[in-house]
Symmetry: D2
Subunit: 416 residues, 4 copies
């Protein structure tokens, strides 16, 4: 089953890049959370193609509608002021959708249509003589499905499927923020060979040490968000962002592509969450972040750097106010310590390039492959941040509910 998170908070998704739309069902949001469509839309807008100067030129409105799981007694008319949805045209075939409401605990469904004009020329890729794009899923998915695969724009393996991640993540973020003050951020730390030494982890560790408290204030968070928003690409380091933006432009003109690394951090996470061992939060985060399309590495805390260290350098000292350093990245034994959760994710250079490459047809006939036409996103890392943040949020929320399940309070089990 295509489920992110779970078993308590989970997100199911469906939909291909060039199909009618992306459908999402979010399970397990406890009752009573105020959800506004605009808030979900705002996260989706960050993910959207065209939202960013350096992403793919595809333009999609990606307007989300919420179709279930919300309610507010006495405010039904207001609730139903979201965009109308219709099937088949005709006035009696339309219905309102939810603009905002309180979660009821029931599944929350959301729909985003794919309405941009789509080319219908896929001859280069169609059928057993269809060509295989190196680095893409074309070949494996063709044979895995015995030929029954949607070849248009990557089909389900497209980044477009991450709409579901972002919708689910946005609900988790609202919940985590309301319950614990948690905020999840990401910063691009590498583009091709260019790196920055500035990191969210380091920044918040300094703040914590200065104020002798791990709790980061909304103002401190807002200051960081402003930096991220205003940079050329979403990074804490404006100068690096500027250079990286230039490099991406040049690389696009070259018809080539670039890898990238993104740091993702949860500030003010709930403590003590994460099951130990086989289903630990570390297992879960490594999986969902490291398993995202195009990702080839995932690190927690200080990541690959800790390999070269001695224990006496690496163990984080503990004081009454909390851990005094965050080499551990907020997780010990797969359980949260209250220090910021820190992961770093490495993306390979986008597989689609305009240079000729050795490849095959789906029937394994050898060819020199060159793309006939197609959109080209030279650095996928540039807009992957919101997806990583969303996946982290989904797992963190599920882990929080898991932890709560073990703290039974009999007063919650009374009716009469």
């Amino acid at each position: 089953m295509e489920i992110l998170g779970g078993p308590l908070f989970a997100v199911a998704g469906a939909g291909e890049s060039h199909g009618p739309g992306v459908t999402t069902i979010v399970f397990g949001c406890p009752g009573g959370l105020r959800i506004r469509r605009e808030e979900v839309q705002r996260y989706l807008d960050r993910r959207r193609p065209g939202s960013n100067r350096h992403g793919t030129p595809r333009q999609e409105a990606d307007r989300v509608v919420l179709l279930s799981g919300l309610y507010a007694e006495g405010e039904i008319d207001c609730l139903l002021s979201g965009p109308a949805v219709s099937i088949g045209g005709g006035a009696d075939s339309a219905t309102e959708s939810y603009e905002e409401g309180f979660s009821t605990g029931e599944p929350i469904a959301a729909l985003v249509l794919s309405t941009s004009q789509r080319s219908r020329h896929y001859d280069q890729f169609a059928g057993p003589k269809g060509q295989v794009r190196p680095g893409h899923t074309d070949l494996v998915k063709y044979h895995k499905s015995k030929g029954f695969v949607d070849i248009r724009g990557g089909g389900r393996s497209s980044y477009r499927s991450t709409i579901s991640d972002v919708i689910g993540g946005s609900i988790a973020r609202i919940f985590l923020n309301e319950q614990f003050g948690t905020v999840i951020l990401s910063s691009i730390s590498q583009v091709g060979p260019l790196r920055t030494e500035l990191s969210l982890a380091q920044h918040f560790a300094s703040v914590a040490q200065q104020q002798r408290s791990q709790t980061i204030t909304p103002e401190q968070i807002a200051a960081v968000e402003e930096k991220l928003d205003s940079a050329e690409i979403r990074s804490l380091d404006a100068e690096f962002a500027q250079e990286a933006g230039e490099l991406i432009k040049r690389t696009r003109i070259d018809g080539d592509s670039l890898g990238a690394a993104v740091e993702v951090v949860a500030v003010n996470p709930p403590s003590l969450v994460g099951e130990p061992l086989y289903q630990s939060l570390k297992v879960r985060l490594m999986g969902v972040l490291g398993g995202l399309n195009a990702v080839q590495s995932c690190e927690v805390g200080d990541g690959v750097q800790v390999i070269a260290r001695k224990g006496s350098e690496n163990n984080d000292p503990i004081r009454q106010s909390g851990y005094q350093a965050n080499s551990h990245g907020g997780l010990i034994g797969g359980v949260t310590t209250g220090s910021p959760l820190v992961c770093r994710v490495g993306f390979k250079p986008t597989s689609t390039i305009l240079k000729t490459q050795h490849s095959v047809r789906k029937n394994l006939e050898e060819i020199d492959f060159a793309l006939d036409r197609g959109r080209h996103d030279p650095c996928v890392g540039v807009r992957a941040g919101v997806t990583l943040e969303s996946r982290l949020a989904i797992e963190l929320m599920n882990a929080a509910l898991m932890h709560q399940s073990g703290r039974v309070d009999a007063s919650n089990f009374k009716l009469f």
Copy 2:
């Protein structure tokens, strides 16, 4: 997670009775199955309110659109000839949907809107002073959700949620029929105190014995389907159906309601499927059939009758052509024997009645409860058959995939 079936073939659903619509995602249909929207629609039409003289008078078109998981190379225009879907109005906000295609193995999403005019007067039920309908989920769901519950028309607990069951079931039925010739049928066997002795199980057992083969031909099945279709209520016994129809009418006028029993049978099921013990097909079927809204009993094979028997009367003799009787209902040790799968499901009388009853407000203040207004379906069993068939199909398909998973054939694991 609100998932039917699984882990291999599974159906996720979302949507409340009077909300914008019901969203469904079907997971795990193997690639290459030809699926026509009209076939799914046909099953939905059987479930639809108003499709039947004896159901609720609510009128809904319940038109389904398929939004993902289908494809057909070179036939894309034909594929996309399903009803258009739009969000927010405006031509550029619309997209086509799938009229038919081959499954790709990816999740299949479907949407049914709720477009009938809805009353917006729920004052009788709203808030902490809202009244509780005896037999309904009003009270438990209000307190379980701490008051954040959609009170309109039963919310998520309405029979409207079974749209997802039927969509998922229709895909399973197409698959099972194509692979194994399996057909799933149901017949109403009791309405209130009226019973029929005719049963599908008995009918097909006679056929099998006469022809000395368990395989039921399409013609033999069609003959039964015709009987079911033409009866006043869906039952093998036309006379009983007639009387039951009369009784339902009288009971509706009385403002009262009736229980019912429905027999559900899978003819030509695949043999050897079902995991033994804790996840056996018997566990799964008892759960999904016996756990449906308003159901209070579920029987396999000869059900409660076997309690009073001796072993020497009850053990089904075995010959080379198969089991010579079907007291076991097609399952031994939770595994299919190839005899028809037989279950019988008992529904309580519909909880909504027009008589005054002792009840409380949600804050537990005692009241004499009488319904201000509302639609009234005097016998839910009358249109539950297609839902039961669907749930059986979903579990049977999942069990078939489970069985296949253990029969590894290395030729399926080659690429180069």
Copy 3:
């Protein structure tokens, strides 16, 4: 996966009837529950062959050892006073086990060996010419496993596998009793054609109505348990129990067998537990109770009787003190109301009989089947009660943890 319950509280089992032993792992017991090995043993003793005059004559000590998941600081020596376990003989190959301790939240493993002398003559059943016992899993499991099946005494499909159910159930019962005062009981209500009208459900409903409170006191429960313990077979009706015992004896002498029905009831259950719809507590209970070996029917509350009723007769009135009747069996919409949970489970007559029957060899060659030798339990219902109680407890505990997971209390998420 062979898992009972879950995803929060779950029981995994392994082990065949005549194999070395039955291994059990219990997942998800929250930390801090005092567990005594003797308490687990006491439930196992009720399940044990030979514990009962009317069960199979097989004698097994079925001594349980607890191997993980328990702890008590400062009391380690006392903790480790359980039976020693050794592998391979030799003093240095032995270890202590836990006699009692507090749960830590980690998985609790338990082992019961099969040490009774086993006949090693299975020639009648071995190989492709092995004979098939009608009503047993012999044929389907042989072909499902392509011949790789343990034929000794029913293998994994034997009632011996329910040792795991009882171990998991005993931990759930300790938890539910400590948290909510819940007690789970069962009473045999039918043996072959003999029935009793006395029922636990009716008894506790009367008590509740008299005292105008659903809470049953420990003394009231103890009085019922005494009746159950002292009856010839475990039933509330001593006279019926006496007759049924006689009938079982006569039937054993005859070489025949009998069906049975068992009522299982949870008194003082936690209210508001159970997810609605697809994973409702009704779905789950119908599955685990109705799916047990040899069961062919499962009813909730008034079960099959409600089919013939009108709504006006069947809806349970509600007053401030709770539901005034329990036709609903403690579940509305799959959620607990606080009334006793009531199920009734119907068992087929034991398949093993001494009469000659039509059957086949595993290669489908037809034979007249008569048992060469073997133990014979004429009425499996007689000792199934503790298994049913255990399964109900497991699902109820899991559902309670699920409910708690949605009631997040931020004070549980602090470390510093």
Copy 4:
């Protein structure tokens, strides 16, 4: 639930470092696989403390017994020649265990006792004034469990729990090898600051390119295994291994510890396995490898190196004989390509060191922490290889069964 892998092939584990033993249940091995206890034992011996000059000095025999899920008609006596198991002493309390047999498809249970003499002095760590070892789970697990945690030797969070991983992995390896010729190997590639440039991935890529075939012969594999076995620490690079061994010795004497990196590779993996997207094999492998105790980074294929590359350098060319390079690490879109599966896992330096560190008591009182006594394993990476191999095997086998489930062959569903 503490489950590795699944839903088809899965491993459940239980048991603490200093508790009575480690219990394991392996689910979902298809019937007919020949399993020898000695083969499982051989893998366990590689994991065992004391098996290696550079691991912890703890000595455990770690003798495994197999208790269920195996069978062989007509060979029962041979089957039962495994070590005897007894509970409570006394001849009638003992039973044989399985020395070898064919899998039946039922759960396979295994038990390893902890029989070494254990110190019972844990005063330094006990109770609310117990001291917290920096880098260990002491603090989070104490508060997560509200004080009910086994403090002895890391409790369940000890590496001893990986016995279950290795048992499950050994069965998966036997299966994968028999079906596909798959072999799983690991090589240590970094110890503290020392690195080797030799890698299994590179070695097998060269072999494949030379012979123009991805299939690695048993002889080619045996040659590599010999190198790994004979090195001072398990690495392809004997010289590096020698130096690293020296460094570990010096670091132990210093009372300090070292990080390490381990490359793990599956040669001749089945092609086309892995579900796309949320449950892709990449998600699963990143999770189980990257989530292991003490791991802080996980890379697939060329890992972090690909970030700095251009697409034109990074895309692996495809020819008729397969991928011509393996930057992708055998996974595209989370599905296997038939190239070796390649992961690299980074371990932090062992948390236990002999130097004084800033820490707290469990009640958060600040202390200078120094270990009173205790065993000390200066570099956990040295014996983690077999655990990583096992986890990879478990996920790969599960993914293979998942793939097979979608390729339904009706001939597997016949009984009569």
